[in-house]
């Protein structure tokens, strides 16, 4: 089920000030690299170049085809999207990665033991491993603030009015209205997050289209995660099948075998003996229950029995 609350990100209003990024770090007390060369130049205004265990929200910068000789940048908001069908939750064994009562996805650090499965499962590459704490970390939509009647810290710091927060349905309605307003200026405008991954907890207005703002057009749980979720069932069926086969084999094998003295090797004649008698090296693999002559006898007996039955039948008919 999609979250009842959502953040609204309007990229058409974003100025790329990174105030949200700083506010996130400040509220969550996340350290930033301060030494010279700790944050190497990535070739864009983005800093740092990617999210980490200490950076849960980041503004992305993508320069696109200039319009009327203007430098145009498509801003993006890279943080957890709070999927309704969250693959990170489905793979978490400890329950650390969980859905909150308002439908957001949060990691309970006290339950995380750093297996990193959630990191591998996320199509948006949102959870990151924190080397300091040896745990997975990501945006929780500021659950601690929400519980105290506050809004997420990123939203609080946005001076361009590019971020809003409220009931998800309200945010969707607001995004759709805004998209209609700017459609003439931005013909490729898209409202993103309504249906993706069952519905996201971050609704975005993307004036240049999802792709230009570095959003996945059709996000899905990685195929390996999808198959991985089925493997426990496959393993269960496989092991039960193997146990069934071995049980049948055990029944079939009862009373079979040989004694510890049955087979010997005659070092003089250089042959293997079975019960003291040399074994026929060309003996057939399938042991026949009866010898040929015995088989022929049995056939004759069967044939004579049939004749007797037939003659008895005839006698009865005549009577």
């Amino acid at each position: 089920m999609a979250s009842s609350i959502a953040i609204l990100f309007d990229a058409s209003k974003c100025t790329g000030c990174k105030g949200c990024q700083v506010a996130c770090k400040q509220w969550n007390q996340l350290p930033a690299p301060l030494d010279f060369g700790d944050a190497p130049f990535s070739g864009s205004y983005e800093s740092p170049a990617e999210n980490s265990g200490d950076t849960w929200l980041r503004v992305t910068f993508d320069e696109i085809e200039p319009r009327e000789d203007e430098v145009t940048i498509a801003f993006g908001r890279d943080a957890c999207r709070h999927c309704a069908d969250a693959p990170c939750v489905s793979v978490c064994s400890s329950g650390a990665c969980h859905k909150t009562s308002n439908g957001a996805v949060a990691i309970d650090s006290s339950k995380c033991f750093g297996c990193q499965y959630c990191i591998a499962a996320c199509p948006f590459d949102s959870p990151k491993f924190c080397e300091r704490e040896k745990k997975a970390k990501k945006c929780s939509l500021c659950q601690d603030r929400l519980q105290n009647g506050l809004t997420p810290s990123c939203m609080k710091s946005c001076t361009a009015d590019a971020l809003d927060f409220g009931a998800r349905s309200d945010m969707i309605a607001k995004a759709q209205r805004r998209a209609l307003e700017i459609k003439s200026k931005f013909p490729n405008v898209e409202v993103y997050g309504v249906n993706q991954m069952g519905g996201l907890g971050v609704i975005s207005i993307l004036p240049f289209g999802a792709d230009s703002h570095r959003e996945m057009v059709n996000p899905q749980a990685p195929l390996m995660t999808q198959i991985g979720n089925m493997l426990p069932t496959v393993a269960g069926v496989g092991v039960l099948g193997a146990l069934g086969v071995t049980a049948l084999a055990f029944m079939g094998g009862r009373g079979s075998g040989y004694s510890e003295e049955q087979y010997t090797y005659d070092n003089v004649r250089r042959v293997t003996c079975d019960g003291g008698k040399p074994m026929d090296p060309n003996a057939p693999i399938v042991k026949l229950g009866l010898k040929k002559e015995e088989k022929a006898d049995t056939k004759e007996v069967k044939a004579s029995k049939k004749t007797v039955k037939a003659s008895e039948g005839e006698v009865k008919k005549n009577d």
Binding site: A120, G228, V239, G241, L243, G252, A283
Partner: protein, 225 residues
């Protein structure tokens, strides 16, 4: 006096039991990670403890057999020589009839086999391949996404999971046959315990070609009352 043939030397038995003990511990401790629902039932403390045991035993799983092979490098050579030896008619026939023999051993007189039966050779190749996958993917997962790209971690995790499924199924069959639960195989565990000897009769029944060579040469043959 019964004649016995030395089948597995100390270091071969050491490596086997290292793989067996560590492998089963890893299977049990990994189960809670493999089945997320089970982890939630066991609770965080059990899960955390099992994850640490899994990591430590995982390192032993990689390191201890290497020690075994370093102590006796000829064992490794011997394994490879036997695993990849050319299949003869007896090997092919053994594989053809084994499924039938398994359910009705009284009816079949199985063809003579070399040091490792053809069926076991096929199974062992898969087993060693799985061990290799476990080792490589385990080490990659231990290094983690803090250092490695996420896609490498994801592939390692997936390979670990797939290997887990096949390993669990093979283990059931391996225990059934190797531990002698299957009636005609009932004395086989002896080769992996104690002195690693197998009786003349057992050797001739199971590995006819190998037993005949050994008994003819007498090199690894001991007599006991």
């Amino acid at each position: 006096m019964t004649r016995y043939i030395r089948r597995h030397n100390f270091w071969a038995r050491f490596v086997h039991w290292a793989y067996a003990v560590f492998g089963i511990v890893l299977l049990i401790t990994g189960l809670a990670l493999f089945v997320p629902g089970l982890g939630k039932v066991l609770g965080f403390e059990v899960l955390q403890a099992s994850s640490w045991v899994h990591r430590i035993v995982g390192i032993l799983f990689v390191a201890v057999p290497i020690i075994g092979y370093l102590a006796k490098p000829s064992n490794l050579k011997h394994i490879f020589q036997n695993l990849f030896r050319r299949w003869d008619k007896d090997d092919v026939d053994f594989m053809k009839f084994f499924p039938l023999y398994l359910f009705n051993p009284k009816k079949y007189h199985m063809p003579k086999q070399h040091y490792i039966k053809s069926g076991q050779r096929a199974s062992d190749i898969v087993m060693y391949l799985l061990i290799l996958i476990f080792m490589i993917s385990g080490v990659l997962m231990l290094i983690g996404t803090g250092i490695l790209p996420v896609w490498i971690f994801a592939i390692a995790k997936f390979a670990h999971q797939i290997a887990f499924v096949i390993f669990a199924i093979l283990l059931v069959v391996h225990i059934f046959l190797g531990a002698g639960i299957f009636q005609p195989y009932r004395r086989l565990p002896r080769g992996m315990f104690g002195d690693g000897l197998v009786s003349e009769s057992d050797a001739l029944y199971h590995w006819g070609h190998w037993a005949e060579e050994e008994l003819a040469s007498g090199e690894n043959v001991v007599e006991k009352s």
